[in-house]
Structure formats: C-alpha cells, structure tokens
C-alpha cells in the first residue's frame, strides 16, 4: 500500500465496504435481538408476597421472573452467626448488614452463582444453604464460604410494602 498512491477509487471501495458492513449489521440485529426477553417476559417484573405466616426459622420460596426467591425469617442465632463473621476472610466480602436491611428477613435469589442450581436450605457446613450440584456451601447470610461458586447469592431489589408484604422487583 505504501508505494501505491491512494486513488479516488480506493476511497470509493472503502466507503462502500464500510456502508455495506453497517447495512448488514442493521439487518442482522433484529435477528439477534429477537432472542432477548420479550415484552411479556419483562411485564412480569415484580411480585408481591404475603409473609405473615412465616415463623422465625422458617423459609418460603417464591417464583420471580422464573427464578426461585428465598424469603427466610432468621432466628436470633442465625443472625448472630452471620454478623460475627470477619468479612476479610470471605471469598466475596459483603456485610450481613448490607445483605439484610431488616436483619430478621433475608430475601435473596435461590440460585447458586456457580451454575444456577437451587441450593438446599438448613444444610452445609455453615448452617445456611448447600448446593447439591457441585458442592457450594453458603452461610446464614447466603454468602459463599466453600466450593466452586464465585459470589454470594444475589439480593434482588425488594421492599416491604407493609409489615406483612414484600414486593420483589
């Protein structure tokens, strides 16, 4: 290229290719984007849950956006256990205070952050959850303590509409 002079024709080729690439991209995008969540899936973005019947130590599982959400009413012991941990030793350091605004209620996605299985409650070496698929152990705050999962179980956006109702999403 260096010894050849750039001609008007080269300019026309380059701009044609560039415009062609943009055109192909614009035509292909709808074919790709149709696979993303559609309007009906997005419409189911929030769920309200009545938690009045949940006693301390109990946990319920509700479906939100096709994923299970654990709503756990923790006992004082479980809260204490979650809060006394030195977060410097954690794989994914998060304070329990930040994960459970209201310490009695832990609301989190019941989805193992390794490969998406649903962990079992009141199991594992840390008294929290245990994922049967590939052996991840979570503590009473849903934080990863042992096993292949990279991060703590996710806390979804939620709020207490009143003392008995939680709105997820």
């Amino acid at each position: 290229m260096s010894d050849k002079k750039v001609k008007r024709r080269d300019f026309i080729f380059t701009t044609s290719y560039a415009l062609g690439a943009v055109g192909v991209g614009a035509a292909v995008w709808p074919l790709i984007d149709q696979m993303n969540p559609d309007a009906s899936v997005k419409a189911l973005a929030s769920t309200e849950v009545d938690v009045s019947s949940v006693e301390p130590g109990q946990s319920i599982t509700v479906l939100w956006r096709g994923k299970p959400v654990f709503i756990k009413r923790r006992t004082q012991e479980e809260i204490a256990k979650a809060r006394e941990v030195d977060i410097k030793n954690l794989k994914h350091p998060e304070k329990d205070e930040d994960r459970a605004k209201n310490p009695e209620w832990l609301v989190m996605l019941g989805v193992c952050t390794h490969l998406g299985c649903v962990p079992l409650g009141d199991k594992g070496e840390y008294g929290g959850w245990f994922c049967p698929c590939h052996g991840s152990h979570y503590d009473t705050s849903g934080r990863i303590r042992k096993g292949p999962a990279p991060t703590n179980m996710e806390i979804p956006k939620y709020e207490f509409v009143n003392t008995n109702t939680i709105k997820i999403g």
């Binding site: 790709i32 696979m35 993303n36 969540p37 559609d38 899936v41 599982t61 479906l63 956006r65 096709g66 994923k67 299970p68 989805v111 390794h114 490969l115 998406g116 299985c117 649903v118 962990p119 994922c131 049967p132 698929c133 590939h134 052996g135 292949p148 999962a149 990279p150």
Partner: protein
C-alpha cells in the same frame, strides 16, 4: 479421484451425465479404491451414517406429535409414548439412537487416534469430524431438554450457566440464550428450532467429511501411503459395502437390545418428573457421553477456569494434527505411543466415571489427576514422542510384508506377527 473418465453405456445416460455428472459421482463411489487391509474399526463411518439417517427420520416423526411449549411438552411426550401408534418405539429408537450415535462416534474417533488418521494429509477430514462431534453434542444437549423433565430443565440451566462465567458479558449472554431471566418457555421453543436444524448442518458437514476423505483416500491399519488403484486396494463396492453392512447388523443387535430390553437404562429416572424451577434434583448428571467433559469442568475449583478447561479439552482435539509431531501414522509402528494411547483411553474412561460420581473426596482427587493427565497427553507427551520415540520400520506396501520381497520386509513381518 479415479483417473479414468467415466462414460455411461446408454445413450440417455450419456445425455444426462453430460448435463449433470451424477453418474460419474456414483461410479466414483462404487469404484473408489480402498485399502484392502481395512479392519472392522473402519466400518464405523458407515454405521455413523446409518445413525444420522435414523435420527433424522425418527426425529421428523416425533416432531409431528411433540408440542414445544413449557406447559405441554412433558405431556406430549407421554402422549407419544401411550397414544401414538408405535410412538414408544420411535421415541425409544430416537433416545437410544443418540447414545448409539455417540458410542459409534467415540469408537470412530479412537480408531483415528490409534491409526493416526488425523495426520497429514488428512487434517481437514479430522477438523470437519471434530466440528460434527461438537454439533452432535449441541444437538444431543438440546434434544435432551425437549421432554421438559427435571433433568432436561436442570441440565439446560447448568449448561447455559456455563456462559455466565464469561467476564463482563456473561449475564447478558445467558439472558439472551434464555429469552428471559431463567430457563423457561422461550428457551424450550428456540432449543426445539435449533435441535431440528443441527442434524442438517451435520449432514452437510458429513458430505464435506467424505469429500475430503476421497481426496487422499482412506488411511489404513499400517498407516502408509498406498498407490491407488493397485494390488493394495479393492473397490468400495462390493467389498467394503458388504463388510460395512455386516458390521452394521452386529451394531443393530446392540442397538435393538437397548431399545427393546432396557430403553431407559441410559437415561435418568428424574426426567420422568416434570420440570420444576423451584427444586433441583439431588444429583444432576449429564448423559453418559458428556461425562468426561463434565468431570473436567468440576475438577477445577474456579468457575471461569473450569469452563475454560472443559472447552479446552474439546478444542485441543481440533489442533491435534499439529500437536502430534510424529511422522509415523499407525500406532502399530510406535511402541511407546501405543502404550500412551491406552493410557489415554483409560484416562477418558476414568474421567467419565468420575463425572457420574459426586464431586467430593476421593472422586474429586482422582478426577483432578485424570484431568491433568488428559492435558499432559496432548500438550507434552505427544509433541515429545514425535522426536524421541524409536519407531519400528514401516513396510513399503500392504502386500509387501505378506508376500515378502526384501530383507527389511520380512523383518517387518516378524515384528507384525509379534504385535
């Protein structure tokens, strides 16, 4: 390709062939010179073609009765089993056919490994074969999701979540794959669409695979280049055709055993429970043919590295022709490679077993050693063997060691006898 120009006998045939040389192609396929020492390990190409056609035909029929919807899929499969005439047979042939397909493809691949069929000038045949193998795994995975049982659902969840390990884009990619925030109806319908497509992609690649094969011709058990046609070859028809059909009949006995006597032994009981996104089965295991890769995934304690190791185990096979530096193809003349070959076979079987066991304690330890050895074989042992191994003398032709002709040939014969 055959050297002589084919001219049809009839006038009509000649008229047609001048316009579309399909008779020339048919003639090439029947006359195609084939090494006369091909053993029964070479019959699996034909067996695999049979498997592909069987899967396409039975799949086509199943699609007439199956309903791809999260609420209806599970009961439509039961409808096929109970109501559709011979539905049970067609579904069992399709489900077990997938396992038979993989059984045959693993024998086919390990045959290529033993006799060095992936080496120059057959690299492209090998790479096309690996592309077919990868597509087969995708088709099998998506097909397993369609009955929408517990294993279907959670298998789909675990496998699609592999992509969530990708830094930065992981979550958007999984959402895009699912068409939602979890595996759900949109996932099922797109898997059905792709499951229907992939066999035809495989069919296209099979045509290229055979085309590429017919350029240099078949490798053979002693792995030497032969003159074609010559004393060393026989025509494909009837010699190889008959041999392939006989092997296929034996293979069909095994196939029929599974279909008629233990149609569910290769599946999991959990898949007869309808998919439930709230409960994961206690022990998720993929189908047997994916177990070695699953064991590699689980043996790495880090999520991203585990996924990388699993895909690397697959893609390392694609570049195998350049990892194996030995010029000698057949393991018959490579005394050390022959031993390492059997170590690899054992290693893959051990990985498969560990993949089926829970990932803890001794199982995890063994899986880790086996994973390390798998990569050691391809990345260290094969390249080093190429320069260090003392290979045996290779005969000049297939006929030579049998009919004699030179001192070196009779020596080779003696060695061959020992082997």
């Amino acid at each position: 390709m055959s050297d002589h120009e084919y001219i049809p006998k009839s006038k009509l045939g000649k008229w047609f062939n001048d316009r579309l040389p399909i008779l020339t192609l048919a003639n090439h396929l029947t006359e195609y010179p084939t090494p006369k020492n091909l053993n029964y390990w070479w019959t699996f190409g034909a067996i695999l073609t049979f498997c592909l056609v069987t899967q396409i035909i039975t799949g086509l029929i199943l699609a007439m009765h199956y309903v791809a919807h999260a609420d209806l899929a599970f009961s439509s499969v039961e409808h096929i089993m109970r109501n559709v005439n011979y539905g049970w047979l067609i579904r069992y042939v399709h489900a077990n056919g997938a396992s038979m397909f993989f059984l045959a493809v693993y024998i086919h691949i390990f045959r290529a490994l033993y006799y060095g069929s992936y080496k120059s000038p057959r690299e492209i045949i090998w790479i096309l074969g690996m592309m077919i193998y990868i597509l087969m795994m995708m088709a099998a995975f998506m097909g397993y999701v369609l009955p929408w049982g517990q294993m279907s659902f959670w298998g789909a969840t675990v496998i699609t979540n592999l992509f969530s390990a990708i830094p930065f884009f992981g979550e958007s990619i999984t959402t895009w794959l699912w068409g939602g925030y979890a595996v759900d109806n949109p996932t099922l319908t797109r898997f059905f669409s792709l499951h229907y497509l992939i066999p035809f992609l495989i069919l296209g690649l099979v045509v290229l695979h055979i085309w590429a094969l017919h350029v240099p011709g078949n490798n053979n058990p002693i792995g030497i280049d032969i003159k074609k046609p010559s004393n060393d070859t026989v025509s494909f028809h009837p010699y190889i055709v008959i041999k392939d059909i006989f092997a296929l009949l034996i293979f069909l006995i095994v196939f029929a055993f599974f279909v008629f006597y233990s149609p569910n032994i290769l599946g999991h009981a959990d898949n007869y429970i309808e998919a439930n996104p709230m409960v994961t089965p206690a022990h998720i295991v993929p189908e047997w043919y994916l177990l070695p890769f699953y064991a590699i995934l689980r043996s790495v304690p880090d999520k991203l590295l585990g996924v990388i190791a699993m895909f690397a185990a697959l893609f390392i096979l694609v570049i195998l022709p350049w990892l194996d530096t030995s010029k000698i193809r057949s393991a018959i003349f490579r005394p050390l490679y022959k031993q390492f070959y059997w170590f690899l076979v054992a290693d893959v079987l051990i990985l498969g077993y560990m993949g089926a066991m829970p990932a803890e304690g001794i199982y995890l330890l063994v899986a880790r050693v086996a994973t390390a050895y798998y990569f050691l074989h391809f990345l260290i042992i094969l390249p080093v063997l190429g320069s260090k191994e003392k290979t045996l003398e290779v005969p000049l032709s297939i006929t030579e060691p049998v009919l004699g002709g030179s001192a070196s040939a009779s020596m080779t014969r003696n060695r061959l006898d020992k082997i």
